[in-house]
């Protein structure tokens, strides 16, 4: 029973990673940039939910909606100010700017909220269910997180496959210049990608802090890095890849913590990543792009 409990916890953590990884993977697929500030948008989202719930006493669902709206706007503003002017610059310049944005968000949060951790009240009130005569307890947090992740994933896959903006996204990710010739508004498409990614980050923030309730201005950075790892793990640029990568990473992390060593868990996660990349250099579902001379 212990193993099953760990597995479910791993799935729940992995679902959060998967939602964050989606933001990384979509932005990477379309704008070809590593958005290092994504992890900090999660932190902002979590703080917004916390503020709404504790200051105005609004119900959890309202708080989350407010947070999603604000984070979506934040994502689009960041894209407009910091990344758009660098659209045709080298990748490294964009990467460093993203790091600058990440520092900015962290220090802004530090100024507003202080460095002391606040204890986040879970947005999920449901206690969960007990199976097998009470031996196997599944928390409400875990169930809701996993279900939310699956809903988001399928909704997004449907969106990208069947709607006009979704098709535009795929076209831009394939070939930006050709997309322009087909009459696609590339800037609007990239903006939309950032908006979706940042909105998802708000949800991820609320779910992450419901399971791990200590919230500081640095809360977002480690899950951000791990989710980025998950995105690479599954094949960066691929939406189902983000799901598989996130879930596997979450499960490996929790199982390593439980059975091997809690301090070495991160090292084990990263070691597995390296092994996977060495066997399959583009990640589990990544496509091999042949370089032409």
């Amino acid at each position: 029973m212990g193993f099953l409990t760990y597995l479910i916890n791993g799935l729940s953590l992995g679902s959060v990673y998967a939602i964050i990884a989606l933001g990384y993977t979509m932005v990477y697929g379309i704008a070809k940039m590593l958005n290092f500030a994504h992890g900090d948008v999660i932190m902002v989202g979590a703080y917004l939910v916390f503020m709404c719930m504790s200051n105005t006493g609004s119900p959890a669902i309202v708080s989350i909606v407010i947070s999603i709206v604000c984070c979506t706007a934040l994502g689009m503003i960041i894209e407009k100010i910091a990344y758009k002017p660098l659209r045709r610059a080298t990748n490294l310049a964009v990467l460093i700017t993203a790091i600058g944005v990440s520092y900015f968000l962290q220090n802004m949060a530090l100024l507003i909220f202080g460095s002391n951790p606040v204890s986040f009240t879970s947005v999920i009130k449901w206690q969960g269910i007990a199976l097998a005569g009470g031996q196997l307890k599944i928390t409400g947090n875990a169930i809701i997180t996993i279900i939310t992740c699956l809903i988001i994933m399928f909704a997004l896959m449907w969106f990208v496959k069947n709607t006009k903006p979704g098709q535009a996204m795929r076209a831009v990710s394939e070939d930006k210049d050709a997309a322009v010739l087909m009459g696609i508004n590339v800037n609007a498409t990239i903006s939309l990608t950032f908006a979706i990614g940042s909105g998802l980050a708000a949800i991820a923030g609320a779910l992450l802090c419901s399971s791990y309730p200590s919230l500081t201005p640095y809360t977002g950075s480690m899950p951000g890095i791990k989710a980025f790892t998950a995105a690479v793990f599954g094949g960066i640029g691929s939406i189902p890849g983000a799901l598989i990568g996130g879930l596997l990473l979450g499960i490996i992390e929790i199982l390593a913590k439980a059975y091997i060593s809690s301090q070495l868990a991160d090292a084990i996660v990263f070691a597995v990543l390296i092994i996977v990349l060495l066997v399959k250099p583009t990640g589990i579902l990544g496509k091999q792009i042949k370089e032409k001379v």
Partner: protein
């Protein structure tokens, strides 16, 4: 001086500038004009500059983004501090420090080599994420290392202090998350500056050597380089190993400048790797002197802004974003060109003024 080629002239100018700055700092310190905060920063600044020079070799000449150079710095720091602590009292100070320097550098080079073998099969962002992962693994493993020494020799554990079973009177060398305490503080500013100048000379000679030219050819077009028969893997390995070794030297300096050496996210984790990368990119990719300048300016900037207390890191981040946009955004670059605001145009104006005088 006129007969030398441009890059050698630039190297000599850089070394002279460092030397002048060194003398100014020494005079200020002797006359008591340097705040304790600033004098405490002298060695770390050199250490960061060294790591930045090492990373610049990797990013600028090998053309591969590494997010794990803090890991090599960490290896250099911990192996050398471990050596110094173990042989404190058995080997005299000076040879011990030299040995520690050699050991730290070689250990970092060895790790760089071992990591490079699998990693260099990947490219681009995948390589970046794997180096980041290696850096995190190194940091994590060091945090669970417990090594102690007593009459029976050296004890080793990855669990806790108790499982070492030290005799009373035995000393802890590495104490898990508490790291190494009581490393002799031997990195002086003079040694740091000498090592920095040495590394600048070595990298300069390397990139202009036959191997260096091969590395640049591989960076510019790997397929073309392969077609003319260059052994790609060999040259990539050489460049990456040297890059890691220089980062290791930075680590040795860093370790012998502080009393308690710990491996945290901020000093040896990805935060440090990213900070060093910021130095490299802002100083100019492929420009070693630029890395040193950026490292010095960006380390001092938050300290100079200390008066603004909580706002300093906020301002730092805004400056960083603004500088990146100013230097790289195509729109802004075009504007600067039209209005004569590029670096070359400004230097040109200076030269003209001089000639007129």
């Amino acid at each position: 001086m006129k007969n030398l080629n441009k890059s050698t002239q630039k190297l000599i100018t850089t070394i002279l500038t460092i030397f002048v700055l060194y003398i100014v700092m020494q005079v200020m310190e002797q006359t008591g004009n340097l705040s304790s905060l600033m004098s405490g920063l002298l060695v770390p600044v050199c250490a960061y500059s060294l790591v930045a020079v090492g990373l610049n070799l990797c990013v600028g000449y090998l053309g591969e983004l590494s997010l794990g150079h803090a890991g090599f710095m960490c290896v250099g720091a911990f192996t050398s501090a471990f050596f110094s602590k173990t042989f404190q009292g058995t080997i005299p100070d000076v040879p011990r420090f030299i040995l520690a320097l050699v050991i730290g550098t070689l250990a970092a080079a060895l790790f760089g080599f071992l990591i490079a073998i699998p990693v260099l099969r990947l490219s681009g962002d995948y390589l970046a994420i794997v180096t980041l992962a290696f850096g995190e693994i190194i940091k994590n493993v060091i945090n669970v290392l417990y090594i102690g020494m007593d009459g029976n020799g050296i004890h080793f554990s990855m669990k806790d202090m108790m499982s070492l079973g030290l005799e009373p009177g035995g000393t802890m060398l590495i104490n898990g998350p508490q790291g190494i305490t009581g490393t002799p503080r031997q990195s002086t500013f003079t040694i740091a500056v000498l090592l920095l100048i040495l590394s600048l000379i070595i990298t300069h000679n390397f990139v202009n050597s036959r191997t260096g030219r091969a590395v640049k050819a591989i960076r510019d077009n790997q397929i073309a380089a392969e077609t003319v028969g260059l052994p790609i893997t060999k040259y990539k390995l050489v460049a990456f190993t040297i890059s890691a070794a220089i980062a290791g030297v930075g680590g040795v300096l860093y370790a012998h400048n502080i009393n308690s050496l710990t491996a945290t996210t901020n000093n040896f984790g990805y935060n440090m790797s990213i900070m060093i990368l910021v130095y490299v990119v802002l100083g100019g990719i492929g420009n070693f002197s630029g890395s040193v300048v950026a490292a010095v300016v960006l380390t001092l900037l938050p300290e100079l802004l200390r008066g603004l207390s909580n706002y300093r890191m906020l301002i730092y981040s805004i400056v960083l974003i603004a500088l990146m946009l100013f230097n790289w955004a195509p729109g802004i670059l075009k504007f600067r060109e039209e209005h004569g605001l590029t670096g070359a145009a400004i230097i040109g104006k200076f030269k003209k003024n001089k000639e007129v005088q």
